[in-house]
Subunit: 246 residues, 4 copies
Amino acid sequence: MSTPIRVTVWNEFRHEKRNDKVKAVYPDGMHAVIAQALKAAGGMTVRTATLDEPEHGLTPEVLAETDVLTWWGHTAHGDVKDEVVKRVQERVLQGMGLIVLHSGHHSKVFKALMGTTGNLRWREAGEKERIWTVSPGHPIAQGVGEYFELAHEEMYGEQFDVPQPDELVFLSWFQGGEVFRSGACWTRGRGRIFYFRPGHETYPTFRDANVQRVIANGVRWAAPHAQQAYNCLHVKEAMEPIPAQT
Amino acid sequence: MSTPIRVTVWNEFRHEKRNDKVKAVYPDGMHAVIAQALKAAGGMTVRTATLDEPEHGLTPEVLAETDVLTWWGHTAHGDVKDEVVKRVQERVLQGMGLIVLHSGHHSKVFKALMGTTGNLRWREAGEKERIWTVSPGHPIAQGVGEYFELAHEEMYGEQFDVPQPDELVFLSWFQGGEVFRSGACWTRGRGRIFYFRPGHETYPTFRDANVQRVIANGVRWAAPHAQQAYNCLHVKEAMEPIPAQT
Amino acid sequence: MSTPIRVTVWNEFRHEKRNDKVKAVYPDGMHAVIAQALKAAGGMTVRTATLDEPEHGLTPEVLAETDVLTWWGHTAHGDVKDEVVKRVQERVLQGMGLIVLHSGHHSKVFKALMGTTGNLRWREAGEKERIWTVSPGHPIAQGVGEYFELAHEEMYGEQFDVPQPDELVFLSWFQGGEVFRSGACWTRGRGRIFYFRPGHETYPTFRDANVQRVIANGVRWAAPHAQQAYNCLHVKEAMEPIPAQT
Amino acid sequence: MSTPIRVTVWNEFRHEKRNDKVKAVYPDGMHAVIAQALKAAGGMTVRTATLDEPEHGLTPEVLAETDVLTWWGHTAHGDVKDEVVKRVQERVLQGMGLIVLHSGHHSKVFKALMGTTGNLRWREAGEKERIWTVSPGHPIAQGVGEYFELAHEEMYGEQFDVPQPDELVFLSWFQGGEVFRSGACWTRGRGRIFYFRPGHETYPTFRDANVQRVIANGVRWAAPHAQQAYNCLHVKEAMEPIPAQT
């Protein structure tokens, strides 16, 4: 695909305004850092949208012009309007890619597409996370080594209540004793979904080169390819002759 | 499992009361025929529930005592209360098996668990359906031959908008030229879900010996095994020592 | 990937020399027609190799310079040397893509990578095949409609003895009453494998525009992305301290 | 299934005869301990077979009477005759269950069925392993909690070169910093295969109650259900009329 991938980076953007620790790490919001990284990766045009904009910045027009949407939310999942959730879900089913980041595992959008609770174990202790590649041939693992490390992160542990991934790309080891399926792929309708675990708001995770590379790889993987319309048929359109029933 | 599987057979039960053609085929409702077949299969205790009962017959008490729920709905998906849909979904995620029959592909319960539209192609022409076994070693195919036929059925054709099945058991060939993934398995949370295509209300499909066998096999496959609770952890409970951050 | 994909089109090339009917359809061999189509698709450099060349044309040097190998064999699977089979398998596990065409389902290479017999039902009756898209968002389905037809083909029917595909892209309907999983994807090691059913030697299937498009899409999907080496570790290299056992 | 499952426990049985440390842990061989545990689990008849018996104890007669085979090998994979490997593979494809234990990941049988190298990272340091349940509703996890621990085990780490599992049941955390897909399910032909990681010969792993429970659950899960024969068809047997080609 030689035309650029049109990415919309969505962020809840509340922690960064209210919490000094987070503000110090992401003064312009996590979305600004993610968007900057994707621009630098090349081959993409990037815009951002946040919760407190009208319609959360996700109007039908914006979604129609979005090939891949990235989603970070945490403290205000309940403030996302059901109408917008439905709109995003429908757009994914029609082919828009979706990259769900970190605490987005509990977003309405992700839960609607998975059909499960998205529940998991967690712990905030600033511990070490080592992310192992289990599918080294997968496009999302391109350029990532056997593993990479984050010195300090929130822990997410199994059991992670999601449908079994179509493809599992990364597994995390945590210093405190847990493991987690950190990079996982699903297809829903025509849309591709990638969940990527790292990204707690109090750590500079989105400034990490490996994390940025994985998100960019995820965007490229999730970008839509084909588009077709659904149809329903009536008897007169049968492709082969069906004798009348007696 | 030597204790009987507790099955609840749910039916919309509207067509059978209003349409003479359907009434002639299923005078006591499709649920009566399905329940009778499951009782005859052995190893199960079976009750029924229908849309027009209070809470659609699916109170928290009934669901708590149900190991596997079978679901047939068609004309009144919209009449199923969201509260009951949520209750059924949660119960599946906790481990209750779910057998979705025919037009149940568009039920709120199935769509909530799949995250997709459940859309498909269809045609009512009373054509022949031949159902092929693609996973002959699967428990749901036990006792079914390489294929079996239904002389007259409604056609459902691809593309069927569901997540890729964890296991595909049956494929249908239709006289008019279509194919369909007719028997498909998913796990959501701790619950197992089996979708089985045949069962249009105007044909005696649920009286067919092969169809009855597959539904009974499906119930046995979907019956819950393990039960565990979710937990979240706090830092003091870390399994391995984590040095304090400086 | 802006550098061209290096494709090697492998053909048994025996039927075309011995059977007048086949020769009439493919005077220069099926590989010539497939290679021509891939060149026309763009973004690829294409060479061919055939069974009766030294080492079947698949020397270590040729394989090292091949990103994606396509394979057509039928009457002489047994003549392919085990040494070459092993070489191809190892190259796939290291990341080379593999497109297995039609009767290649019984090739030593495919069976070694699948671990199953590759058995299926078949019938030569020149019947109609209609190929349905079940994963419309998949890159291999790009540009293909809801279905396409081949007026005359050999029939392959289920049960097809292969591991459940990672992704199922196409299903075939046959005039004589069978169905088949006609387009299926697997990953083995770092290599991606696509099996595509059509292509009996007596029909001009490889001249069909849809078939050519699917094979080109398959090549693009199977082209390798990442490359990493395996390692084994010794205790002194443990990433975290392990106290000595007492 | 009320008739007992017929299990054959296969062991290389070399370490236990040659290495005093191993002999101290398993004086009668690992197979004796595994067989004893399966007998105690109930519902099974259990025999054993070892490498140095004629035909490795796996004659056609023994395999014909085996519903599920468990396999432990390590130092002598190369001594297993190709003829017996082929026999076991064929029997699995026909429906026999296979439980592959620990270093069996490099056995000829497992590699033939997977199509991959089975390579992984490893380290012998007697470190702690914590095994997490990721599919709590799966029959193989029945009765196992959120996790269980082994105080001392050999480490196996990702990337584990196997096809993506049909179902992933357990993940391991290792003290030294690695993770591993420790419990994984595949179906090949009609046969079910379960790989379970723990079981280094120098530790009393097969005496652990959780390990014994998982192996017994695995045997029950892998026991065959249905049996059908393959067929090939000729034109005269077409199910639907095919007009003669002109």
